[in-house]
Symmetry: C2
Subunit: 368 residues, 2 copies
């Protein structure tokens, strides 16, 4: 609904990350900054080797395992920073003289590849770069391949495409699930390693969730400094040095919030939100999506364009009156990107669609 | 003062980090989690490429430069995580076939050295390891040395020693100032690079402040992935990937709080706090410090022992009645460690001293 007056209301933030969080989680975090659970200490002051923080880590690991339906052969790790995984994965998991396989399906896949190339032999097994990543590449046959591992990005945040099926492959499968983890059902047991930065569906920027299967972990041979070694993170239960306690606690609150539903239920809601928005993009005469292949379309990040520069320039300003923010496309591609993470309520999508319709009406009236 | 009843009051947290923060900063952070500056967004949701966050970065850089009395030939960087610097420094600043010099004055110095050894030639120029680091080593003469750089730790958090003078050397000087930055006056212009994790005098765990002089930065030759390259952090103004916006904002609030006084004033206060506590340790028959050399004694982390295991076991429990927490020594050395960071008010030190006196009285009464 278009807002009436100058009341300060919560923004409908469709940003790709840092993303909108549920208001109740924000209230809990805010309270914990004042005082954590009646301890007389802020969550920012909580000792990282004390019982309170151990409980936070344990509960978070338990919720991750439960959501993913994985057992204790998987280690749940929290690693500071985000893109550091691109450097850690090749350093930890590349075998000598055995290339690492990568699928090149978008901006972040390409980044992961450029990092891996600094550390060893890298083979790009499939790419849709020539199609500007507007669709997913054909999944390669890796049956006779000898690879250290196979890395892909489940959801391409910048271009708005998504692998909805979990591939089967005989080599260790590694997935960057940064922008769609816990947003849909997956067979997590097919993965030897999966990871996701927190600032989309898990919480606040500053921490990455990494889940590693014990078989892959044990294969690590390179001598690495502890801070870059998954084995060290496992050994020290994510406390290699002082961890970002606050970011991990925020992740725990989000995991609790997420766990109120099954991934199947969340999947259906996200499908509904995405379908509504794609339908409006197709109906509306001012917008279109370059992701023409429906099977490639992401349910998390819906990328689309205005039919001309005027539309692209004016629509974000028009949206401000609806308290809508964060809809600009990634600076490398332009256009629009609407992120429909778990915390985005369906009502927010309806408001955005209303804005798109109103914008179209106003635009056509001006023209006539 | 010994507390009267079961009221939930703020703990006097003498932990080495995550450390106690000023209550007013906690209130500001808590409010920003609900809503950042009337934006309708939480600080956790704030776009990392928008104006609000750029302003946060700019103000923080300006306050750091002002506190350190350094100009724009120094770059102020914010890097996720903590101990990662131990790996980044050798990768960025080691020259081919030129050893890096290290001073080995404590637990964290030794850690920095063990990391550096993984990346290239490392020369330990001075060490007090044989004295269990209970005093500082003699500063080495580096006049005729050809070194990539010289690294030392200004304050040894685990052992309670501190370099109060800023050394002069002809090679690029690099300092880990994690536990005493902004707590005392320093001639920062002598350093080519200094860094400090935030969870002591700068804010919350999850971010490291790194300040690099342009001359050293330009010397970097190795091809590094951006996330491990100081040049990339400079080029992208600390936004190499999504930075921990929350942790950087908390640091800004702490920098504002710190900047209300000069470092000279803060220095004097910290000296007063430390003197009071050392005096009580020396007076009290139940405690002693292994840092006998007064010139070596830290003003930030005061390490001491109980005269017997009974004292060491019972004193922390005794302290609970005074709302005192976080006084146990580092798990590698035991005993006690009291951290007197900037946010610790002098009244807290007085309460601790009261507890030490009361404990002594009770202990001696029981004996007699």
């Amino acid at each position: 609904m278009k807002k009436d007056s100058k009341t300060v209301s919560r923004k409908l933030n469709f940003g790709a990350g840092p993303a909108m969080l549920p208001e109740e989680v924000l209230m809990q975090v805010s309270e914990a900054v004042r005082d954590y659970a009646g301890t007389g200490m802020s969550i920012l002051e909580l000792p990282h080797r004390g019982k309170y923080f151990r409980d936070i880590l344990d509960e978070a690991a338990s919720l991750v395992r439960s959501l993913c339906a994985i057992d204790s052969s998987y280690h749940v790790l929290w690693i500071p920073g985000g893109r550091l995984q691109f450097a850690m994965i090749p350093q930890n998991f590349m075998l000598p003289d055995v290339p690492a396989g990568y699928i090149d399906s978008g901006h972040w896949s390409a980044q992961a590849i450029s990092y891996a190339q600094l550390y060893g032999m890298t083979e790009v097994l499939a790419s849709s770069q020539e199609k500007q990543y507007h669709q997913l590449p054909i999944w390669p046959d890796t049956h006779h391949k000898n690879l250290s591992y196979l890395h892909f990005t489940t959801n391409n945040t910048v271009e708005g495409t998504q692998w909805k099926e979990d591939p089967q492959t005989s080599v260790p499968l590694i997935a960057d699930m940064s922008s769609d983890i816990f947003s849909c059902t997956r067979d997590f047991s097919r993965y030897s390693f999966f990871y996701a930065v927190a600032q989309k569906n898990i919480g606040a920027a500053g921490i990455t969730l990494a889940v590693v299967h014990d078989d892959l972990l044990k294969r690590t041979i390179q001598k690495l400094p502890p801070i870059l070694s998954y084995q060290a993170y496992v050994q020290h239960k994510s406390v290699v040095n002082t961890p970002p306690v606050f970011a991990i606690y925020t992740a725990l609150l989000m995991l609790r919030w997420t766990s109120r539903q099954t991934l199947k239920q969340i999947d259906l809601q996200n499908e509904e939100k995405a379908k509504m928005l794609y339908a409006e993009i197709e109906r509306n005469t001012l917008f279109y999506t370059q992701v023409e292949d429906e099977a490639s379309r992401s349910r998390m990040n819906i990328c689309f364009r205005g039919i001309n520069p005027q539309v692209e320039h004016n629509f974000p300003t028009f949206c401000a009156a609806y308290d809508i923010t964060g809809i600009s496309g990634h600076r490398s591609v332009g256009g629009f990107r609407v992120s429909l993470y778990n915390a985005i309520p369906i009502q927010a999508v309806k408001t955005l669609i209303e804005a798109m319709k109103d914008f179209e009406t106003e635009f056509l009236n001006k023209k006539s």
